[in-house]
Symmetry: C3
Subunit: 350 residues, 3 copies
């Protein structure tokens, strides 16, 4: 339970300019969605589409923008970015139980590893030789940390995470279950039709504040390192190939694949199920919508898309076969234009 007064003070403590309208002693125990919220709940309005619903909200308090506070009788906190303020408030109300510091007796720990006394190593983890794990780290059950891996302060590996030898992981990194960091990249040399494995001897670096979703894979570099920049957020089941660089504060939605050696800039927002070819350069502040196919470098900031519209299958079949005739269609169109132009000239001559 937190009073609105305490919430207001803590938001200010985060450097957020916040103002309270209403009862500062009001007790908040939960967060809830705009229409599900009731007594004891705090909620937020971010999307102006839902402004008309504000009068129906039964929450004890709402976080809003100044422009939405006009005729609002419910307790409310006015901030510039209600979503960000909500994120902080939810974090305070739902503190996850920190695991106890110390090493679970069932974990298998190499003698040469260095585990900070304030770190927590869960049951049935494997920590190989020469690993360094920093202060406040929480390594959940079943995680496997390969030889020579370094993990800086306050990072959390949830469960069943695999970090391969030599990977370098920053502060406050979060790796969700099933993540694999630093498996071999797909390096093959073709020897008369047979594939020879090319040793993958590069590393992988995850900078501070990176978050990686469940079952996402980030390969180690072929010779140099794969690099994930500060504050990058990766959703579930993403594949990052060897030698990829991702710039700071870029976010990528689920199931997107980035092929080897592609460099993605800072502050990009990439949708789900996007396929990005290898060896490309994508500049900063690029947005790519879901399921796009990126086969060329993107040199200008902007919003990009590809893909086809959903139709009933019977309509789609009719249009689908025509896609193979596009070039032919343009040629026929051109021919018609020329003919018509010739006819008109002839008419004029007549």
């Amino acid at each position: 339970m937190l009073s609105l007064k305490v919430i207001l003070d803590r938001l200010k403590g985060q450097g957020i300019s916040a103002r309270l309208v209403g009862d500062e002693n009001c007790a908040i125990v939960r967060v809830a969605g705009l229409l599900q919220a009731g007594q004891g709940d705090i909620t937020f309005l971010n999307n102006p589409r839902f402004k008309s619903l504000l009068n129906d909200v039964e929450a004890s308090a709402i976080i809003v923008k100044a422009t939405d506070s006009d005729q609002l009788s419910t307790n409310h906190i006015i901030v510039e970015n209600p979503h960000v303020a909500y994120a902080h408030v939810a974090g305070w109300l739902y503190t996850t139980n920190d695991a106890e510091a110390g090493i679970h007796s069932s974990a298998v720990i190499a003698a040469s590893s260095h585990i900070h006394t304030t770190a927590s190593i869960g049951p049935l983890c494997v920590i190989e030789a020469d690993v360094v794990i920093g202060a406040g780290c929480q390594i959940g059950p079943g995680c496997i940390i390969g030889q020579g891996v370094e993990i800086a302060e306050n990072s959390r590996l949830l469960a069943n995470v695999t970090v391969c030898h030599g990977a370098n992981i920053g502060c406050r990194v979060i790796l969700h279950p099933g993540v694999v960091i630093g498996a071999d990249g797909f390096g093959l040399a073709n020897n008369d039709g047979r594939w020879v494995k090319v040793p993958q001897i590069g590393g992988v670096v995850l900078s501070d504040d990176v978050e990686v979703g469940a079952n996402t894979t980030i390969d180690r570099g072929a010779i140099e390192d794969t690099k994930i920049g500060r504050g990058v957020k990766l959703d579930n089941q993403i594949q990052i190939g060897h030698n990829v660089h991702i710039g700071e504060h870029t976010a990528i939605a689920a199931c997107t694949a980035v092929a080897g050696s592609t460099h993605i800039g800072q502050h990009c927002a990439i949708g789900g199920c996007v396929g990005i070819v290898g060896h490309l350069e994508i500049t900063d502040n690029v947005t790519i919508t879901g399921m796009s196919h990126v086969s060329q470098s993107i040199t200008e900031t902007g919003v990009y898309s590809s893909g086809t519209p959903l139709e009933t299958s019977s309509q789609w079949h009719r249009n689908f076969v025509r896609m193979k005739q596009l070039d032919d269609m343009v040629r026929r169109l051109k021919k018609l234009e020329n003919q018509l132009h010739a006819n008109e000239n002839q008419d004029e001559i007549k």
Copy 2:
């Protein structure tokens, strides 16, 4: 080994109307494909395309529809749905060894967990505090069950499955290896270009008879729950975002991704590699073919598709560039139509 008589009786016991033509003492030891089957094998014919092959089948018995039994000299069982009958028969002939009830000595079990005496907990599992595991459950090796998870009767987690804190799993649910249930959804608030993590405090509910394929991920809700309805079947490597609802008896093929807050109806059949955008409503009985991109709600039952045809790369390149000219093509076509119409009117006037 089962005699055809026993098989017939058991099918009837399942409420299936079945009739045997042939030797009821014939011994069946295996199932097999239509053309691979031999002595001791039972097979089935579902697809009328293969009816002409029936005379070549060397199985000891065949499960068929009434319409395929006419001139069939082999022993056969006549049912309305041979595929369903086959599924039952195969299940009886290939009983998987149930794991022994009890907790393997290498598993790490919190004292506050409640594990039914008839449940089986495999080696190297981790069961955290306040977990409830029902009668007849089989938790395979290496599974990690987070704090407060409840699993009802007769569910099976194969191996290396991760179920995060608080998830709620029904009866007879099957989770294949590498599945992750209840990891955090991709909730981010943008604070001047930097991403602030939005705590994911909702839960995840898997109803009775759900099956989830290998390495599929189902995220917990942001505030409310992610909900997978009764009898839903998910193939491998599917991604289900936070707050998604999937209606009863819907099936989804491999590698499909459903973004956050989308609601999918009952009895839908969704192909593989489909990308479904967030915050959509898809009604009941919708079929979506493989690799489609769903970017708008679907309000009418039907079959839907999108996507482009495969061509030789050289042909494709020619058509590919034309896709960027489609709007221009329509305008040129319109102009030609107008010109021709004007010319004809002029001809008439002449």
Copy 3:
């Protein structure tokens, strides 16, 4: 450290025709990229695009083709295929520490399993009944090997790999972390709108020299076996459905999905994020570019593609809506052609 003389001799030992120009005593300690290489490094030139950079290379030695050796003053080794030669050299310089033979005390091993004395079983592995593990195999931490699995000589399972009951794995196979071999295929029979699970009783066979990337899943067969041919290389997060056959020396890039019962030929090269429908036949030596949708069998060797071009979203929206009008466009075009042809005939008649 290896001298160029030793490297030359070892390449010859691999059956590679190699010639050294320069100082055979030169000491090589590392491999490096063409432009990053310095003293003690060996690098290679494969792509003729970079030939002009050869004079700027500061490596101690370069592996090149004969055609690139003309004016090269740096020590160099001339071979036909520098990439293949590089792969060997890198392997010699970066020998990964082989795990010690023997079974880690924390592993859980069924009494009826047969583990070769030269094999290594890592910490917290589970080896179920009747498993056979051959000479020189290295089973990394957290791997789970189901009942009756057979793994031939010198295969390596990196970490957290799951191999389900009865799978058959050849020599020198590499399975990266999170791989799942032999989970149930997606076999369902529809019984009046409800799905009945069809038991998946087939096996899965991985032939010699197969490599499987992180979090890739290969399902067991429905009745017969799923078969991955000799030398096949699969990248990360690939899905291989039940009863799929993949021919020898085919390589598939990340996130591609192959639906059930499709047969892919030998020496194919399939890009990333490709979706391949079930029950198809793809012949030998087929190349399919990334993100293609394969919905029909491919009977002729060649290079195939599908997909749409990336555009700015505003341009794309204009063209996107036109894709639904393609069939209509062709009809309008045809009508115009007929009209114009009729007019011209009329003109002639006039």
